[in-house]
């Protein structure tokens, strides 16, 4: 026997009260764990996905929507912009690199993004199998898409119109040319192809089968810059890298006032978004702290009440040789064991909860989160819980320290 086992015996001796306190504490800590995990991974992912993109240009509308659709591929695009105007912009001396994106279709909810090879370079994408697209209708699929849909190089599939599932199907089959290695970036969830592919898919709609010029389907697509296209052609958005810091001042103003397009900065818009989300996060945090506070109070009451019944026990322990210090330690140990269990259960619960959210949300942005990453911040949860345990045991321990053995044992 030792003190640790003795406190454990006392805790398991009243399983209901112990269980209730553990659950309360665990719930509070689980909420904090989820918040911690989501906040950390979200911000990480958001910055990682937007790395190298200084400015996004697209059709006028909500700038946040433009960023969400152009960079993170979560919201709907604001519309399309004429290819001519985009090309004109690309000749600006303020721009170092410009990557066009053409959206409009999906494959089982995964977005098909028409772009050039620079987009792969932007994320430093590695190939797991196969190679990059060269012909129209050749696609490269992200790691998550390939895994979930079981795609291999050489497979073919049909796309659906629109960017969410359930729209009508296009007729031409896409062919998988390559599969990307997992990167933890947004491209894991995308199907990448040339802009020409996106154009041809939608032209097919307009033209009838026999009128179509099949020769263009066997030309090589453009690998960088803009593809050749007539006046009616459009793209959805442009990802821009500045040549100099000066561009950050001049370019957005130039685009917003001088063209029919709008420019939005990912950094700025995301900061705005987090500010908006912050209210909800604070609310949840408040709730979590409330739960933890209540559980701390619960632990205090449980220890204090049990102490009344246990004063005899404590006196007896003194009689058989325990010192005051050991009794104090015993009480603290109970508080600490209780809260440590609460903390571990809470952290586990938080991760499991996140895992459930992720499994419910396969194509959304939550799908790219990882429930089983453990953060350093979670150690603080443990420390925090121990603090609650020590705080709750303070008064009971003091009262145990003060108990007079003789008085306690003669009282009957």
């Amino acid at each position: 026997m030792n003190l640790f086992r003795l406190s454990w015996k006392y805790l398991t001796f009243r399983p209901l009260s112990t269980g209730l306190n553990v659950i309360l504490l665990a719930l509070g800590l689980a909420i904090i764990t989820v918040l911690l995990l989501v906040q950390d991974q979200f911000e990480n992912k958001m910055t990682k996905d937007a790395e190298g993109i200084d400015l996004v240009v697209g059709a006028k509308g909500s700038p946040l929507q433009l960023i969400l659709s152009g960079v993170y591929h979560i919201d709907f695009p604001t519309g399309n912009i004429p290819l001519e105007e985009a090309k004109k912009l690309s000749r600006s001396r303020l721009i170092k690199n410009i990557i066009p994106l053409a959206l409009g279709d999906n494959y089982k909810g995964y977005r098909i993004v028409g772009t050039n090879h620079d987009y792969l370079g932007l994320f430093e994408a590695q190939f797991d199998q196969g190679k990059v697209w060269e012909q129209p209708y050749e696609v490269v699929v992200g790691a998550t898409v390939a895994l979930r849909e079981g795609l291999k190089v050489g497979d073919t599939f049909e796309s659906s119109h629109g960017i969410s599932v359930g729209s009508h199907d296009h007729e031409h089959d896409y062919q998988v040319a390559g599969i990307l290695a997992p990167s933890g970036n947004v491209i894991d969830r995308l199907v990448l192809t040339s802009i020409e592919t996106v154009w041809y898919t939608h032209e097919e709609e307009a033209e009838s089968e026999d009128e179509k010029d099949h020769s263009e389907l066997h030309q090589e697509v453009s690998k960088t810059g803009f593809p050749e296209g007539d006046q009616a052609k459009e793209v959805t958005s442009l990802l821009i890298q500045y040549r100099s810091p000066m561009a950050a001042v001049q370019l957005p103003r130039m685009i917003n006032s001088g063209t029919s397009m709008q420019a939005a900065s990912p950094t700025f818009e995301m900061a705005r978004l987090f500010e908006l989300l912050g209210v909800g996060v604070s609310l949840l945090q408040g709730l979590a702290f409330l739960l933890i506070g209540i559980s701390g109070l619960g632990i205090f009451i449980a220890l204090y009440n049990s102490l009344k019944e246990r004063k005899y026990d404590l006196a007896i322990l003194r009689v058989i040789g325990a010192s005051r210090g050991q009794l104090v330690f015993l009480i603290f140990l109970e508080g600490i064991i209780l809260t440590s269990i609460g903390a571990l259960v809470g952290i586990l619960l938080g991760h499991s909860f996140l895992a459930v959210i992720i499994s419910q949300n396969e194509q959304g942005v939550a799908a790219s989160l990882d429930a089983w990453i453990f953060l350093k911040g979670e150690l603080w949860i443990l420390v925090y819980a121990l603090g609650v345990g020590i705080l709750a045991s303070l008064i009971p321990a003091w009262s145990a320290y003060q108990t007079s053995i003789a008085k306690q044992l003669t009282k009957s």
Partner: protein, 210 residues
């Protein structure tokens, strides 16, 4: 002398001071402390066990003056050298019989007696794994006696151990305390107002109260 006291006085707050007769007892000897209820018998027992400090006088156990040791040293000294049997068993409810005795070993940092053999000797060997709640009153009392004996103390103090027992069980418990005390060579002091006990232990002192 194993235990000797000199001019012990103690006063409960707001009451006249109690004086106690001196005690001189060798190992293997037994002594009764008799007196009416409220005469301060239990106070004396608490003083002898180092649970209460006398306001005057001294208690010397095995050559050690209890006044000279304090705090956790006194607790440890008590755990090692003094076994106390209370009027009520006061066992630790979450633990089994065996674990209750193990606690005594743990806190006194002493090997002491082999627990299962001791329980066998007291006739409760089969109960060693039982929960304390499942014991009868008599069994619980024997466990509390075993707890007082398990560290092979030099002094055994018993507070009214027979007050709630019938004649037959009184005889049994006294017999048990005496034989066990002899076996480990301890001095035995029994505090009681039970006249039946006098027939078994001739040596006694009387506490008169204030």
């Amino acid at each position: 002398m194993l235990i000797s006291t000199e001019n012990i006085q103690y006063s409960h707050p707001g009451q006249a001071p109690l004086s106690f007769p001196d005690i001189h007892l060798k190992a293997n000897e037994a002594l009764l402390v008799l007196g009416k209820s409220g005469s301060g018998k239990t106070t004396l027992l608490n003083i002898l066990g180092g649970l209460l400090m006398p306001h005057r006088g001294s208690v010397c156990i095995d050559g050690v003056d209890l006044n000279s040791i304090q705090g956790s040293n006194l607790d440890l000294f008590r755990g090692k050298n003094i076994g106390i049997v209370f009027q009520k068993p006061h066992l630790l409810a979450p633990l089994t019989v065996e674990e209750n005795l193990q606690m005594a070993h743990y806190f006194s940092k002493k090997k002491g007696q082999e627990i299962n053999r001791l329980l066998d000797e007291l006739g409760i060997g089969v109960k060693s794994k039982s929960r304390v709640q499942n014991l009868s009153e008599g069994e619980a009392q024997r466990v509390s006696i075993a707890r007082a004996l398990v560290n092979s103390p030099k002094l055994i103090l018993a507070d009214e151990p027979t007050s709630s027992l019938d004649d037959e069980n009184t005889f049994k418990v006294l017999n048990l305390l005496q034989t066990q005390a002899k076996k480990i060579g301890a001095a035995l002091i029994i505090v009681t107002h039970d006249q039946r006990v006098k027939d078994h232990i001739p040596q006694f002192i009387e506490v008169k109260g204030a």
